[in-house]
């Protein structure tokens, strides 16, 4: 951190005052510099690279993201040793700057729908790449617009007259030396977006563009010189990269939300407004219950997501070492879990950031609700796994992992308990029993969705129609499952904290997270008879008590996130709280203030006044 902040090479004018082109240029400058410094300091560990990167770019996207985050890793995981010899070192040394071109203008999350073709020509031993329609133009890949000279392109492979599905190809797109697009390649920037100003998201159109046979990534599937296609061992493996990225987004949701909370809570401690009591000075707005109610549940959520992010990262590295040893048994649950949690955390975080009203973090983070898998689709993937698990339980099998609560459903059915008898035992001040309540809610909603699905099937609807007609229920079930998982992980973390004072405040946050979630979804808990009206009233009351309890620690809790002022990039969120003075200084630097009298006065206002 200090390496970056103290380096004058990384200083620049406030980004808020720069145009898109200028922002892009600054980002490229810093990326180029960053790569050189990384090598200079000998930083090669991916975790360290990640931190270095995030300090250089202050958590913003940058044109080399896809090169470092997708192009290099894909080469490592999907290229043959020969291909690695050819491409990896040049890419490592940035003679090749690559991107990852998957999404097309007309096709996103549904990979099989992609239209780009790669047709094998045995006569020349080449693949001929084509973008046959407007909708097949590659659209959105970061770094594609202006920066990259190579791309890994996903295309439908045709050989011997047959379509073999999606495969990845290494495609040169710009001339080395001049950076001009190669003949047959049309490439450019897709124009302004909501955020991501420094990123040159691009388009790519290919017309009969030929690449040698050896440019198909062939660690798993292969095309032999005569055009014979050799199948990979498991087709799930290609999803590995996406699972990895999704797990990173969960961590990112936690960090973005933490930044937003830091800014909003510090500012709320500085800002004074109105009167609570007549005659007294205006109180800090953080003393208003409504403000606490907006911010503290988000703070609790930020902590919850930190623990979830850490959990997923650990699970991912465990499962991926299993995969390397050929054990794929945990992949389905991992896939289901990352999909749902990615959707759940990015939705919640982006709504939370909006609640804090922070434009910069919001626009940088919100797109994660769409990229790497649109969130509703993600939720439905999780639901598919939940329904499958439910059906296994119904047919007498037992399930393991996070869904093991479904095993209990059959037992509950045999011994129906009276609502009152069951609910009296949920003490609302104990995180463990609240996790039980979330568990019961998830079980109930999974069961309801599975039953509704079955009912639709019994109406002799096709499987697909039935699924579509139940999908709103299915998404709700997935959300409830994810909510349960998060509450569970947060609660489990408490016992690991050794410092008593820290454990006490974390327990308060954990309780707030769980109770606030209940108060926002009272319908589910009431309808399933998990909680009574009276308990809901208590829950609401307890949430408000917790707000007051957390209030004295609020600033300390965001200070613990330990964001540097430069990283926050916010006038409102400064560690020293000198908000107003700095806002004024900042505004004076605005480009509109560069001249005392704006040129439009002479151009438009004055002539008008003269005429009228």
């Amino acid at each position: 951190e200090a390496l970056v902040f103290n380096d004058p090479d990384f200083q620049h004018e406030d980004l808020n005052f720069l145009s898109r082109s200028q922002r892009y240029e600054q980002a490229v400058r810093k990326s180029a510099l960053m790569v050189m410094k990384l090598r200079e300091y000998g930083i090669a560990d991916p975790e360290e690279i990640y931190w270095f990167k995030s300090f250089v770019h202050r958590g913003r996207p940058e044109p080399l993201d896809l090169h470092l985050g997708m192009f290099l890793p894909t080469l490592l995981t999907q290229a043959t040793p020969e291909q690695q010899d050819r491409f990896f070192m040049p890419a490592w040394n940035l003679e090749i700057i690559g991107t990852y071109a998957q999404t097309e203008m007309g096709h996103g999350t549904h990979l099989r729908g992609l239209e780009t073709t790669a047709t094998y020509d045995p006569a020349t031993q080449e693949f001929i790449l084509n973008s046959p329609t407007v909708t097949s133009i590659k659209w959105w890949p970061g770094g594609l617009g202006k920066t990259s000279n190579y791309a890994i392109v996903l295309a439908q492979l045709y050989t011997q007259g047959q379509c073999k599905g999606l495969h990845a190809f290494i495609v040169p797109i710009r001339q080395l030396g001049t950076h001009e697009p190669l003949p047959g390649i049309t490439v450019g920037d897709i124009g302004p977006k909501f955020g991501y100003d420094e990123m040159d998201n691009g388009y790519l159109k290919m017309d009969n563009f030929r690449i040698p046979r050896e440019n198909m990534l062939m660690k798993y599937a292969q095309v032999e010189p005569d055009g014979t296609y050799v199948k990979p061992l498991s087709d799930k493996l290609t999803y590995g990269t996406m699972v990895f990225i999704r797990s990173l987004i969960v961590g990112d949701a936690a960090r973005s939300l933490s930044r937003a909370c830091t800014i909003a809570i510090r500012y709320s401690a500085v800002r004074h407004q109105s009167e609570l009591k007549p005659g007294e000075p205006e109180p800090q707005i953080l003393d208003y219950q409504t403000q606490q109610y907006k911010l503290f549940p988000l703070l609790a959520t930020a902590y919850a997501f930190h623990f979830v992010g850490a959990y997923i990262k650990d699970t991912y590295s465990r499962v991926s070492s299993d995969i390397n040893e050929g054990n794929l048994s945990e992949l389905p649950e991992l896939h289901a879990l990352t999909a749902g949690l990615k959707a759940f955390t990015s939705w919640t975080a982006s709504a939370g950031i909006e609640e804090c009203r922070l434009p910069d973090i919001y626009v940088t983070f919100t797109p994660s609700c769409t990229y790497e898998g649109e969130n509703t689709v993600m939720m439905l993937q999780t639901a598919r796994f939940l329904v499958k698990s439910y059906n296994q339980v119904s047919s007498g099998q037992r399930v393991t992992g996070m869904v093991s609560y479904l095993n209990d459903l059959s037992r509950q059915r045999i011994q129906p308990q009276h609502v009152a008898a069951r609910t009296a035992t949920v003490p609302i001040s104990d995180p463990v029993s609240l996790v039980e309540a979330y568990k019961a809610r998830a079980a109930r909603l999974v069961e309801a969705a599975a039953k509704n699905l079955q009912a639709e099937l019994n109406h002799r609807r096709s499987k697909e129609d039935a699924w579509n007609r139940t999908s709103v229920d299915l998404v709700r079930a997935s959300e409830a499952h994810c909510h349960y998982v998060i509450a569970k992980l947060f609660t489990a973390k408490l016992s690991e904290i050794s410092n008593a004072a820290v454990r006490a405040v974390m327990t308060e946050l954990c309780l707030l997270y769980a109770l606030y979630g209940i108060s926002k979804n009272t319908g589910d808990f009431l309808q399933a008879g998990i909680l009574t009206d009276a308990q809901i009233t208590q829950v609401n009351q307890r949430v408000k008590e917790l707000l007051a309890i957390i209030r004295p620690n609020a600033v300390a809790l965001v200070d613990s996130f330990d964001f540097h002022d430069v990283h926050l990039g916010s006038v409102l969120g400064r560690y020293d709280g000198n908000v107003y003075e700095n806002m004024f200084e900042w505004a004076k630097k605005s480009p509109l203030n560069k001249t005392e009298v704006h040129e439009s006065f002479h151009k438009h206002l004055k002539p008008m006044q003269a005429k009228l």
Binding site: H107, I137, T147, P192, Q289, N375, T376, T522, Q609
Partner: protein, 659 residues
């Protein structure tokens, strides 16, 4: 040609789009006038917005000033006047992308708060643009809470002047539109001091820039506040006053006056000072919240029938995304809300015109109700519409994030509406204060304004619905909303009373109840919106096709609210768990029904392509072609990137020697 997926949607409309449009406009004659205004503005290249997504803040500002100046000429040419029927359509036709909006508020505040003499002096100057006005209320450290403002205006008996000052940095005026660069005058709100005594916040007309060379007047420091999340075209400004003197006559004095000897005379209710804000709040509901939502729905729904993704059935073509239940559940409730709020806006406009006439006659009786209505509905509608536009943005997947979709700019603009003219939470609390007061009065048998008489009729009992079809009866769901609103208002009032009786100080008790008070105020507004929608549909008897589809939308709006807020309806057992399942079933059934008319329903909003300014939402549905062609016009593609020569080239070529 029209994309065939979109064209096919229009062949099955269950009603006449043209008739619905005319009805929404308030008659075919209004539609004709609106279209004529839009046509006149759009065929004039000065008003083009085609490049706006590529422009810098400076360029946007210059364009907005250019348009504002040109508009004066245009109005003259076309014979449009400020009081004519065309006027209200101009802003819509320009999509608000024009400067001098605060100039109008400047004029309005003078008309409302100024004496006849002041009106006669300032209004002609302003309407001739001999000066450009702004409205300086908000300060760096103070927003919605007016009494907290720190700017001071001290009366100097000797010179018959007020001396205005910004005593500290948090008192600096911050945010007023048109003030950063354009305005020559502004209405400054300041604490009035006469002979050392403070009389509260009053409005003063202050000149800030020279009328000759536009330089700042002595004692004035002003400028632009820098880049924002939206409103790039407006020069929101800051203003510091250092011993700025204005003549005694510059205090707006229709309702209170400082006489030459320093005697302070009050001529009416002090609440009148808020009246400008009250009317602004109401007028922004349509322009800044409902219309943007209608546009967002138009873009998202048209795109959702052009975009295909995955397969519903194996072997078939990829399905239109609007055929997915989850996509319908995202978009159709927002469409229903757009209609619901269009109707509530009509209702509020009528209420306000009545109120305005009363105030002109110096009858202030309706002010508290108007104030509560404007606060509550401004907050509820802007908040709802903001979430709704965001849902539309997200429902368009990746392309929604391109500025060329039009959705990000709609979103950032509508988000601001949750804050300006009163932060929403504070406004909801103001509405709650009114409701609480009325509830107490009603309980004590005293008369209350007609909009809240329902609070007096506290009914216990259960919802009588027996099947899911029962929930398609407006009586059933309106009753449920009413029950819920009464319960929330009354239980909060009871809690507040309990706290006070148990010895908690009034202000602390209030703060401890604010979360519930906000909930109660929203519930009240939600109830009125549902009720008004149902009554509007009821009145529609003659237009069969339209009434049927409007009834579906009304049902959807109401049931969506119950579905998404199940807890508050289940809480006291008014609805049972089984009834909630019926609500869900009816609600999901409605999605499939309204799905069929989704495109005709957005077509009826009648936005031109130029007005939408969206690659995804155009009438012909040529989404991908437009996106591709438009992107190529981006400056990032027109000019050689300096980054290549400067940074990338050395990186790509000399790496070995450097690394």
């Amino acid at each position: 040609s029209v994309n065939h997926d979109l064209a096919s949607e229009r062949q099955t409309a269950s009603f006449s789009v043209e008739k619905l449009t005319a009805w929404l406009d308030g008659g075919a004659e209004h539609t004709r006038i609106r279209r004529a205004v839009v046509e006149a503005i759009e065929c004039d290249p000065v008003f083009s917005r085609e490049n706006q997504y590529f422009q810098s803040q400076n360029e946007r500002y210059e364009a907005a000033v250019r348009k504002a100046v040109h508009l004066q000429k245009k109005m003259h040419e076309m014979g449009w006047t400020e009081n004519g029927p065309e006027f209200k359509y101009i802003y819509r036709a320009l999509s608000g992308d024009v400067a001098f909006l605060l100039h109008r508020i400047f004029m309005r505040s003078i008309s409302v708060l100024g004496s006849d003499k002041q009106i006669a002096k300032w209004i002609p100057l302003a309407s001739q643009y001999q000066l450009i006005g702004s409205y300086a209320q908000t300060e760096l450290g103070h927003g919605t809470y007016l009494q907290g403002l720190e700017t001071t205006a001290v009366f100097d008996n000797a010179t018959q002047e007020f001396i205005l000052n910004t005593p500290k940095i948090s008192a600096m005026k911050w945010w007023p539109g048109d003030m950063g660069r354009s305005a020559t005058h502004t209405v400054v709100f300041a604490q009035l001091y006469v002979h050392g005594k403070c009389y509260g916040v009053h409005p003063f007309i202050v000149q800030i820039r020279s009328l000759q060379d536009h330089s700042l007047c002595p004692g004035i420091i002003a400028g632009d506040i820098g880049p924002k999340m939206s409103f790039e075209h407006i020069d929101n400004g800051y203003l510091m006053l250092q011993n700025v003197r204005v003549p005694r006559e510059n205090m707006l004095n229709k309702f209170c006056e400082v006489q030459p000897d320093g005697t302070y005379v009050r001529l009416g209710s002090q609440q009148i000072n808020y009246f400008t804000m009250t009317t602004v709040r109401i007028s922004l509901i349509s322009d800044e919240a409902v219309i943007p939502l209608m546009k967002a729905c138009t873009i998202a729904i048209r795109y959702s029938v052009v975009r295909r993704q995955s397969k519903l059935k194996p072997g078939e073509q990829e399905a239109k995304i609007l055929d997915y239940q989850t996509q319908q559940e995202k978009l159709l409730p927002q469409l229903a809300a757009a209609y619901a709020f269009h109707f509530i806006n009509d209702y509020l406009q009528e209420l306000f015109e009545k109120g305005y006439r009363e105030v002109q006659r110096k009858n202030f009786d309706t002010l508290p109700e108007l104030h509560a209505f404007s606060s509550g509905f401004k907050a509820m509608v802007t908040q709802y519409c903001t979430s709704a536009v965001e849902i539309c943005l997200r429902a368009c997947g990746g392309h929604g994030y391109s500025l060329l979709s039009g959705l990000p700019s709609l979103y950032t603009k509508i988000l601001a509406s949750c804050i300006y003219e009163g932060e929403n939470t504070i406004l909801l609390l103001q509405a709650a204060r009114f409701l609480n007061k009325c509830f107490m009065a009603a309980s004590a048998g005293q008369p209350v304004p007609p909009s809240v008489t329902y609070l007096a009729a506290v009914k216990h009992g259960k919802c009588p619905a027996k099947t899911k079809v029962d929930f398609l009866s407006p009586d059933i769901y309106t009753e449920a909303y009413q029950h819920m609103a009464v319960r929330l208002v009354s239980s909060t009032a009871a809690k507040l009373q309990d706290l006070i009786q148990s010895g908690v100080k009034k202000h602390d008790a209030w703060n401890q109840c604010t979360v519930q008070l906000v909930q109660a105020a929203k519930a009240h507004c939600h109830y009125i919106t549902v009720k008004n929608f149902a009554e509007t549909v009821e009145k529609l008897k003659t237009e069969a096709g339209i009434q049927k589809i409007m009834k579906h939308l009304c049902d959807l709006f109401a049931l969506h609210g119950i579905f998404s807020n199940a807890g508050v309806f289940l809480h006291d057992g008014y609805l049972s768990g089984a009834q909630m399942d019926m609500v869900t079933a009816s609600y999901l059934d409605l999605l499939a029904v309204i799905r069929k008319d989704a495109v005709p329903l957005v077509d009826a909003f009648d936005f031109t392509d130029k007005n939408l300014n969206s690659a995804l939402g155009s009438y012909d549905g040529q989404v991908y072609q437009r996106l591709y062609e438009w992107a190529q016009k981006s400056p990032t593609n027109m000019q050689v990137s300096p980054a290549y020569e400067r940074y990338l080239k050395p990186l790509l070529h000399n790496t070995r020697s450097k690394i």
